[in-house]
C-alpha cells in the first residue's frame, strides 16, 4: 500500500522497518495512516511529482538580485516605447507587479497564463525558465551569481524568440494572399515581432538558394559524373541574405539620424521581422527553379517576388507614418530593394546557363 506524501519506508540493519517523514522530520515504527490525506494525492505519494506552484515562481522574484535584473529590464523597455506598450498590455506585467506588492502566493488560476506566455512579452514567465537556462548557458556556474551581461542578453534574446510553433506557422501563412489574410495574426506580428522566423527563414533560404543552384547545374551538365560543385554559391547567398537583413535596419537607422524624426516612432525589430518572413517565398521558388527551363524560372522568380512584395506592402508599409517624405521613401524602399536583389541575383547568377 502506498504511503502518504513525504513518508519513506526504511529498514534497520536487523530488518525491522520504520518510517520517516522528511518534511516533519519525524521518525516512527508504526506505518503512517493515509486517513487525513486527500484521495487525489494518494496515487503519486511514492514518487515525488513536481507540481508547479506559485511558491516556485516567487523564489527568483523575491531575491534582491532578480529585482535588480527586473529593473534593468524595465529600464531597457522604457527606452523603447513599443516594448513598454506591450509590457503594459501583457498579462506578464500584471503578474509581476502583483508578485512584487504582495509577497503572498499567487492565485493558482493565473498560472496557466504565466506558463503559456502567450500574450505580451511574457517577461515574468521568462524569469522562471530563463534563470534556469541562463545558468545552463553560462557553463554551469549555477550558484545564482549576480545578473551578468550575458544572462541579461540571454533573457533579451529569449523575449525575441518567445513564439510557439503555431505562431510561426500562422505568420508564414500570412505570405499566402489567398485565402484572405488573418487580421489578428497580422496585428500580432505588428505588436510582437519575433526573430525566430526571420533568422531561420533566412538560413533556410541561404541553404536552398545555394543547393538548388548547384543541383540545377548538375542536371544541366552534359557529363554528370564530371560535375564539379560550385561551393562559392554558399558565401554569395549568405552575404546577400544575411547582409541584406542587417543592412536594411541599419540603413533605416542612419536615415532617421539625418532627420529630426523621433527614433521611437520606428520599430526596427518589426522591419527585420517582416523582411525576414518576406524572404520565405524564395524557398519554394528555389525548389521549382531546378526545372531546367529558362522561361519557367523567370516566371517562378517573378511570382515569388510578387508574393514577397505583397507581404511587405500589407504588413510594413501601412505602419510607417513619418512626417519627412524622403525618409518615408527610404524606409519603404530598403526592404523592397532587398527582396528584388535576392530574387534577381538568384535568377541571374546561380544557374549555369547564365554564368558566362
Amino acid at each position: 500500500m502506498a504511503l502518504p506524501p513525504n513518508w519513506e519506508r526504511y529498514t534497520t540493519e536487523d530488518g525491522k522497518e520504520y518510517f520517516h517523514n522528511a518534511a516533519l522530520n519525524k521518525t516512527q515504527w508504526e506505518r503512517p495512516s493515509c486517513d487525513e490525506v486527500p484521495l487525489a494525492s494518494l496515487n503519486t505519494s511514492d514518487v515525488f511529482t513536481y507540481k508547479p506552484s506559485a511558491a516556485d515562481l516567487e523564489v527568483p522574484r523575491s531575491t534582491a538580485k532578480s529585482q535588480e535584473l527586473d529593473d534593468l529590464f524595465m529600464g531597457v523597455a522604457a527606452s523603447e516605447p513599443t516594448e513598454l506598450v506591450s509590457l503594459k498590455e501583457g498579462p506578464g506585467d500584471e503578474l509581476s507587479s502583483s508578485g512584487r506588492s504582495t509577497n503572498s502566493a499567487l492565485p493558482k488560476a493565473s498560472l496557466p497564463t504565466l506558463q503559456g506566455a502567450g500574450g505580451g512579452l511574457g517577461f515574468a514567465a521568462g524569469f522562471a525558465a530563463g534563470a534556469a537556462a541562463a545558468s545552463a548557458a553560462s557553463g554551469g556556474d549555477g550558484q545564482g551569481s549576480a545578473p551578468t551581461f550575458s544572462s541579461w542578453l540571454l533573457l533579451l534574446a529569449q523575449s525575441l524568440f518567445d513564439v510557439s510553433t503555431d505562431d510561426v506557422v500562422r505568420r508564414l501563412k500570412l505570405l499566402v494572399p489567398y485565402p484572405a489574410q488573418d487580421r489578428s495574426t497580422a496585428e500580432e506580428l505588428r505588436t510582437r515581432p519575433d526573430f525566430y522566423g526571420p533568422f531561420w527563414v533566412a538560413t533556410t533560404a541561404v541553404l536552398f538558394l545555394a543547393a538548388t543552384g548547384n543541383f540545377a547545374r548538375l542536371i544541366e551538365s552534359p557529363h554528370p559524373s564530371l560535375f564539379k560543385a560550385d561551393y562559392s554559391l554558399v558565401p554569395l547567398a549568405a552575404s546577400l541574405v544575411y547582409g541584406g537583413l542587417i543592412a536594411v535596419p541599419i540603413l533605416a537607422r542612419v536615415s532617421v539620424f539625418f532627420t529630426d524624426e523621433e527614433v521611437a516612432n520606428i520599430d526596427f525589430k518589426k522591419i527585420i521581422c517582416v523582411c525576414g518572413y518576406g524572404l520565405a517565398p524564395s524557398i519554394p521558388v528555389s525548389i521549382l527553379c531546378i526545372i531546367p527551363v529558362g522561361f519557367l524560372r523567370w516566371l517562378f522568380v517573378l511570382g515569388g517576388l510578387a508574393l514577397s512584395l505583397y507581404f511587405i506592402k500589407g504588413n510594413l508599409l501601412e505602419d510607417i507614418s513619418v512626417k519627412v517624405r524622403w525618409l518615408q521613401l527610404t524606409l519603404i524602399a530598403a526592404p523592397v530593394i532587398l527582396q528584388v536583389l535576392v530574387f534577381f541575383i538568384y535568377r541571374v547568377r546561380f544557374f549555369a546557363g547564365d554564368r558566362d
Binding site: 557553463g139 525566430y196 561551393y231
Partner: protein, 205 residues
C-alpha cells in the same frame, strides 16, 4: 535482507528534460590516472569515442533518446568533421572552400542549433547538445565514404538518404525531449536543416 529495499529516488515528472552537464572527468572518479602510461590514456579516450560512434549507429540511440551520449566530448565530432571535410575536398575544384564550408557548417551550425534551443527555453546543456549533434553526423560520414568509393549518382542519392534518415532519427528525439511542448517543432526544424545542409554537401561533391 537488503538494507534499503524500498527507497526510491525522487523522479521529477515536471522537469524530466533537465540534463546536467557532465564531462568525461566524472567517469574517471576514483581511478588514479596520473601514473598510467600515455598510451592507456589515449586508448581509453579512443575507446570512448568508438563506443559513442557505435551507439549512434544502433537503433537503441533512437529509443533512449541519445542518453548514451550524456558524457560529452568534442573529440569525436572533431574527428568526424575533419574526416568529412577531407573526403569532400578530395575531388573538389575549390578544395579549401569545400573543407572550410564543412568545418563551419558542422561547428557553427551545431552551435547555432543549440543556442536556438536555449532561446526557446529548452533545458539543455550547451556542450552536450553540440556533442550529440556532432556524433550524429557519423551516418552521413559513412554515406560520404561509400559515395566516394562508388561514384554513381543514383547510388549516392540512396546512401545519403539512408545516412540522413539515420542521423536525424538519432538526434531529433534528443532535441525534442528537452523543449517545451508548444515549441518542439521550432527546435527540431533547425536540427533537420543542419543535416540537410551536410547531406547536400555530400550529394553535390
Amino acid at each position: 535482507m537488503a538494507y534499503e529495499p524500498t527507497y526510491q529516488s525522487p523522479q521529477f515528472h515536471g522537469g524530466d528534460g533537465m540534463v546536467t552537464p557532465s564531462g568525461s572527468i566524472e567517469s574517471q572518479q576514483g581511478r588514479c590516472t596520473l601514473d598510467e602510461p600515455v598510451t592507456e590514456t589515449i586508448m581509453r579516450d579512443l575507446r570512448s569515442i568508438g563506443m559513442k560512434l557505435k551507439y549512434v549507429m544502433l537503433p537503441r540511440a533512437r529509443e533512449d533518446k541519445g542518453q548514451g551520449l550524456r558524457e560529452w566530448d568534442l573529440w569525436g565530432p572533431l574527428v568526424l568533421c575533419l574526416a568529412l571535410g577531407i573526403m569532400l575536398s578530395m575531388h573538389a575544384e575549390q578544395a579549401s572552400l569545400a573543407f572550410g564550408l564543412v568545418f563551419i557548417i558542422v561547428w557553427v551550425g551545431s552551435g547555432i542549433v543549440t543556442i536556438n534551443a536555449l532561446l526557446l527555453k529548452g533545458k539543455i546543456s550547451f556542450f552536450q547538445s553540440v556533442c550529440v549533434l556532432g556524433y550524429c553526423i557519423f551516418p552521413l560520414v559513412i554515406a560520404a565514404f561509400c559515395s566516394l568509393m562508388l561514384n554513381v549518382i543514383w547510388l549516392k542519392v540512396i546512401f545519403v538518404t539512408i545516412g540522413f534518415t539515420w542521423a536525424t532519427g538519432a538526434s531529433v528525439n534528443f532535441m525534442s525531449e528537452l523543449l517545451p511542448e508548444d515549441r518542439k517543432a521550432l527546435g527540431v526544424y533547425p536540427v533537420w536543416l543542419f543535416y540537410v545542409a551536410i547531406a547536400w554537401l555530400i550529394l553535390i561533391s
